[in-house]
């Protein structure tokens, strides 16, 4: 898929905490992400796994207080984003790194025309006159399949799918190297979702943009991603290429996620979901965060925090089974 293999993003040991009245929430706990130019990473997990916080961390938009980046580094094009000044960060946001938020209904300004909203980004980041920016914004609309003549319409005059395309047009207006899409199709109907995914796939190929796609839908992941990272309770518990993850998932939680989805191809009388609930983020279990829900858990899991083990090239799993401490075989 990718035209070049240049390193774009390198996140190491990233930790983000929220300080609340009920205690400190470790929303993101020592995660590692590597992304090359033109690659798409799917960041998958359930509510509260820390996916959106990770994205906000990369954009340096974690609300402070109560949120704080406590450890790690985020290297983007060789420089650590956690060291640059707020001024420089502002020149990166929306320009080199941009973000699509989940809800297209609330992420557009209701009192500005969509044309103005696209032109705003272009005027801020590129040395263009107002007329040139307006012209470029019409081109961007055409690019996402909306007639340029609609640039003077307001968001409420568009349907959900079209609003999401306007948001995509804004995020792509400055040709970013990295696009972070937070559940971009969750609020849309399936046929409209198919249109938007199709559009994103085409644009990705055309501009060689790297993308982090945050989602809870493994179906969407299989449509667009090259690599996948599964998050649970603030940690990446399994990361692999798309093919490795779908043909050979190894972490018990990943296997449980696949067991929870009704399969269209096979007949299953009963789903085999992960038992139990997501842990309380202010009071995470000791040792492996997943052990209270894990069907393979042994006593040692409550005591020892597992390390990431590379079981094949690019395929890492954070589980004691692969450190040789538990004798079990995880099966789908």
């Amino acid at each position: 898929m990718s035209k070049s293999k240049n390193k774009l993003l390198n996140i190491e040991d990233l930790g983000i905490e929220y300080v609340t009245e009920d205690g400190t929430v470790k929303a993101v706990n020592g995660i590692e992400i590597k992304l090359n130019e033109g690659e798409t990473l799917g960041l998958v997990g359930e509510t509260g796994a820390g996916k959106t916080t990770t994205a906000l961390g990369i954009m340096r938009l974690v609300p402070n207080p109560p949120g704080k980046i406590v450890s790690g580094k985020i290297e983007f094009e060789g420089s650590n984003l956690l060291d640059v000044s707020e001024e420089e960060m502002r020149m990166i946001r929306g320009n080199k790194i941009s973000m699509i938020f989940q809800d297209p209904m609330t992420s557009l300004n209701p009192v500005m025309t969509v044309g103005q909203q696209i032109a705003e980004v272009i005027e801020i980041h590129q040395d263009l006159s107002r007329q040139e920016a307006a012209k470029k914004s019409e081109e961007m609309l055409e690019l996402v399949g909306i007639p340029g003549s609609r640039a003077n319409d307001y968001p409420h005059q568009f349907s959900g799918g079209m609003k999401q395309r306007v948001v995509i047009a804004i995020s792509l207006a400055c040709n970013p190297q990295l696009l972070i899409a937070d559940e971009p199709t969750t609020a849309l109907d399936v046929t409209i979702q198919a249109q938007v995914l199709d559009l994103m796939n085409n644009l990705k190929k055309e501009f060689n943009t790297a993308m982090i796609l945050i989602t809870h839908d493994l179906g969407v992941v299989s449509e667009v991603c090259d690599k996948v990272a599964i998050m649970y309770a603030g940690e990446i518990i399994e990361s692999a290429t798309l093919e490795q993850l779908f043909t050979n998932p190894r972490h018990p939680y990943t296997v449980g996620l696949f067991g929870s989805i009704p399969n269209l191809e096979e007949e299953t009388d009963r789903l085999s979901p992960v038992k139990g609930l997501m842990p309380d983020p202010t009071d995470l279990p000791s040792g492996c965060k997943f052990h209270p829900r894990c069907p393979y858990a042994k006593d040692i899991c409550a005591k020892q925090d597992p390390n990431s083990t590379e079981i094949e090239a690019q395929h890492k799993v954070k589980c004691l089974i692969y450190e040789g401490l538990i004798d079990a075989e995880v099966k789908r």
Binding site: A194, H216, S222, I261, L264, E265, P273, K275
Partner: protein, 318 residues
């Protein structure tokens, strides 16, 4: 003939809006066999939730018949309707908005029992409530908690316990799992399946999630802009979709698998407005096959195997 618990004939529900009449449900027919599940699928605004509500008379139908256990319930008076509520219940989509935040779990589950005078004293009521909580897998210690203290999965279990409290025969499930995370969603679906077996329940399962509906339903009805476009047994529909809309809808599902990638039918254009719709096929403007279709309204035709399709091009597509 199979034992039909519910039969709906030419059901219509129109809403008055400033721009004209909104045809939310526009002449649909279906029936559900006792103990089975009918899945109703379609995209936002196709009228699937409205259908569920009209069937329960939570909304009054504009026209048509709703026959429940042999009686047309559209003719029922207030008292008859109150009795009917014991037989038909609903589980709502949003477990955050459908529970009263100022009532405890036991008050919420116990309220229908009190209203219908099923339990005679406090002791009986609390026994029945804890029995129901046990049935849906809620721990006893949660009996005095408020909904905001619980997560989505547990809240949805409260909604299910409340719907079960009167021992209904028929439950409309309006997107009962779409607000839940996948692992919790699977737990709740398993629970609902167990309850159906144990109590012989009949479900009308409304959802936009096609993989869930295939897993859960015996028969599936596909709605588009207030009308039924296709109806078939679940496996038959997925194996052999005939209506162009159903084909596009099924091809649009992102499948979590690397093999078996289907050729995708991308629909052009947006859904037409349901306000004062033009006569004729509502899907015509987005249909990739449409070519000089007649302007008459297509009707559901039997093509065998319990499979019904409403399309003018039926002979070319089968």
């Amino acid at each position: 003939m199979a034992d039909k618990i519910l039969e709906v004939k030419n059901l219509k529900k129109h809403f008055k809006t400033p721009k004209g009449m909104l045809h939310a449900v526009d002449g649909i027919d279906f029936s559900i066999e006792r103990g089975k599940t009918l899945g109703v699928v379609g995209e936002s605004g196709c009228g699937k939730s409205t259908t569920g509500r009209v069937v329960l008379r939570l909304l009054e139908a504009t026209d048509g018949e709703i026959i429940f256990e042999g009686k047309n319930i559209r003719m029922f008076n207030k008292e008859q309707l109150r009795q009917l509520r014991r037989e038909m219940q609903i589980i709502f989509q949003d477990p955050f908005a459908s529970l009263n935040p100022r009532m405890t779990v036991s008050e919420i589950i116990g309220e229908p029992l009190k209203i219908h005078g099923i339990t005679k004293n406090k002791k009986e009521l609390s026994d029945k409530v804890s029995e129901l909580m046990d049935t849906v897998g809620l721990a006893d210690r949660l009996v005095n908690t408020y909904p905001h203290e619980l997560d989505g999965g547990r809240r949805q279990r409260i909604g299910i316990a409340r719907a079960l409290s009167l021992n209904p025969k028929f439950i409309v499930c309006d997107e009962p799992v779409s607000a839940l995370d996948v692992s919790i969603q699977a737990q709740v679906l398993n629970l609902m399946q167990d309850l159906q077996k144990d109590f012989g329940l009949t479900y009308m399962f409304i959802t936009h999630d096609l993989s869930v509906v295939k897993h859960f339903s015996d028969e599936i009805a596909v709605m588009y802009l207030g009308q039924l476009v296709e109806k078939a047994p679940a496996n038959e529909l997925f194996k052999n979709p005939v209506h162009p809309y159903t084909k596009a809808l099924l091809s649009a599902i992102p499948v979590p698998s690397l093999t078996n990638k289907k050729e995708r039918v991308i629909l052009k254009g947006e859904i037409t407005s349901p306000i004062n719709p033009d006569p004729g096929c509502r899907f015509c403007k987005r249909c990739p096959y449409a070519d000089n279709c007649p302007t008459a309204e297509p009707v559901l035709k039997d093509i065998g195997n319990g499979h019904f399709v409403a399309c003018h091009l039926i002979h070319e597509l089968v």
